[in-house]
């Protein structure tokens, strides 16, 4: 994305800022993605001005994320299985969830700051620009350091794939990248929905943490560990189970605590699409309800 921003950056500056001539050829989605790419690219360039600082914060991000896995390793230093799952199997869950969440966090993790913008009135600036507000908020302060989290997830996933004893079929192999991307989509939807919620309750941005960080923490452990009601909630209400529990259950041949048909393991893309659509609606409703502080 940085590359594209670099190449097109110069030409774009010549574009008239008025909304009237804003490239009618592109759809709204394309327009938003392009704007997002430009904003993110700008922040990446600004981050790269302080390379040492970037490396240190990326490492910090990596280490902070790794703590969760250290906890799992410490647990497995005392037991051989957790909820009937072995360490490589739990690592597989962890890797899928970690990478999915890391990608979403990298892409739009800055949404957390929306409440701050609503409170101090700086959201108004974003409203008058001829660019979708969601693209601006999502790209705002794009934190490349969050690659640390993605890298940590990939490392654990790699370890799991090496040590796991799985009869790989084409379906299983394909399901891994599909699950990663769908999972990232589901977490993005959670971030956007949480952003929409902040229009209503500006100071309550921490509630989102329960679903984002809390969600990814929960997914690091086998579903069999949790109470059935919690599993139901994570399957049917906030469908986090589609991030890794359901696809990993298929790959590892593990029964799911709820009585679901086998093909459900292949539906993460559908779940992600549905989540994104709902989150988009919530975002529109939130944005429409926005009243400026006027200061």
């Amino acid at each position: 994305m940085a590359e594209t921003a670099h190449v097109t950056g110069a030409a774009d500056e010549a574009d008239p800022a008025g909304g009237i001539s804003w490239e009618p050829r592109r759809g709204r989605l394309g327009e938003g993605l392009r704007a997002y790419g430009l904003i993110a690219g700008m922040w990446i360039r600004s981050t790269m001005a302080y390379r040492t600082s970037f490396l240190l914060t990326a490492f910090g991000n990596f280490a902070m994320t790794a703590l969760d896995f250290v906890a799992i390793l410490l647990m497995f230093s005392r037991v051989d299985a957790l909820g009937g799952w072995s360490l490589p199997e739990v690592a597989f869950l962890y890797g899928l969830s970690g990478v999915s969440f890391g990608l979403a966090d990298l892409a739009i993790g800055s949404m957390e700051r929306l409440g701050q913008r609503v409170r101090d009135g700086t959201l108004d600036t974003l409203l008058v620009r001829p660019v979708p507000v969601l693209a601006q908020v999502a790209g705002d302060r794009f934190g490349l350091r969050r690659l640390g989290r993605v890298a940590q997830g990939l490392l654990v996933l790699g370890y799991a794939l090496v040590v796991l004893d799985v009869d790989w079929t084409v379906a299983k192999v394909l399901l891994v990248p599909v699950a990663l991307l769908s999972g990232a989509g589901i977490f993005c939807a959670v971030f956007v929905a949480a952003g929409a919620f902040q229009f209503a309750a500006q100071d309550a941005s921490e509630v989102a943490n329960a679903f984002t960080y809390g969600g990814t923490t929960m997914l690091q452990y086998p579903p069999a560990v949790f109470a059935l009601d919690l599993v139901r909630g994570a399957t049917f209400v906030v469908p986090l189970a589609f991030v890794n529990w359901l696809p990993a259950g298929y790959v590892l041949d593990r029964p799911y605590p709820l009585d679901l048909p086998g093909w459900v393991a292949f539906t993460p893309p559908l779940a992600a699409a549905a989540c994104c659509a709902l989150a988009g609606l919530a975002w529109r409703a939130g944005l429409r309800s926005y009243r400026s502080t006027g200061s």
Partner: protein
């Protein structure tokens, strides 16, 4: 110190309390999040203790209590950040610290008072509800004797001192580094890991566990938890916490005097 200056620090502490008490929605959001995290962690602990009952000397009810205690103390002790350290570092970076040094109050004591006020609010405002929730819906092991509760509260107070002393040192590093973000992040990681927030320290394997247990961070959560669960002699815990508090607060004083003597305050 005269009676007048005590009144000053009490006023600063009350100010710290009120400052955090102002944000009610944020507090409610924090309570919700701590409760959800407690809910997730408690099931992982139950699974762990299912595999190995009496792990680390705790039974299942004690392990459950430990989870909810951790969620109750997380914000108050600022184990994962969120205390005064960010603000102090920012004041050092911008040079505002020069104003603080001119105030007729001791720098360390004033920040301590502010932090104690914050911690007391977060203990009451953010800690009590998740703990009560846990106690209502999960089998917990709570002491019936008032004296144990009193000892527990004293251990929490000492934990606040140790926690502050650690974070004050972290913040003072900004005098030399200017941007203390990296140090603060490392300190949070050490705090989450060494306090027992991640996993009770008595579950850590062998010699590794014993090393972690003598580090100052174990005074934060593991100490108060062992007093509440009746797993440790309270006097020993108090002595351990007080010793680290004295050492770390003393170190803070030394660093502070070195910083104010040698470091040029940022102007602008």
């Amino acid at each position: 110190m005269g009676a007048g200056s005590w009144r000053l620090y009490v006023a600063v502490a009350a100010g710290g309390f009120r400052r955090y008490a102002t944000y009610r929605v944020a507090t409610a959001a924090g309570v919700f999040t701590n409760t959800v995290f407690g809910l997730i962690l408690v099931y992982t602990y139950l699974a762990l203790w299912d595999e190995k009952p009496q792990l680390g000397g705790y039974d299942q009810a004690q392990a459950t209590t430990y989870v909810w205690l951790g969620q109750a103390l997380l914000a108050a002790l600022a184990i994962g950040g969120g205390g005064m350290e960010n603000e102090l570092m920012e004041r050092i970076r911008t040079g505002d610290i020069a104003v603080d040094l001119y105030r007729p109050a001791d720098l360390q004591l004033r920040w301590l008072a502010e932090d104690v006020g914050r911690a007391l609010f977060q203990l009451l405002g953010r800690g009590v509800v998740p703990f009560v929730f846990g106690a209502l819906f999960f089998p917990v092991a709570l002491p019936s004797r008032v004296s144990v509760w009193a000892a527990f509260l004293l251990a929490v107070a000492l934990a606040m001192l140790v926690g502050f002393a650690l974070r004050y040192l972290v913040a003072l590093s900004a005098f030399w580094l200017l941007d203390g973000t990296g140090v603060a992040q490392m300190a949070w990681i050490a705090g989450l890991f060494g306090s027992g927030m991640l996993l009770p320290l008595n579950v850590f394997p062998g010699a590794f566990g014993e090393v972690v247990r003598v580090l100052p961070w174990s005074a934060l959560l593991q100490g108060p938890a062992d007093v509440l669960l009746g797993e440790a002699d309270p006097v020993g815990v108090f002595a351990f916490q007080a010793a680290w508090a004295v050492v770390l607060l003393g170190a803070g004083r030394l660093v502070q005097s070195a910083a104010t003597r040698r470091v040029v305050v940022q102007g602008g």
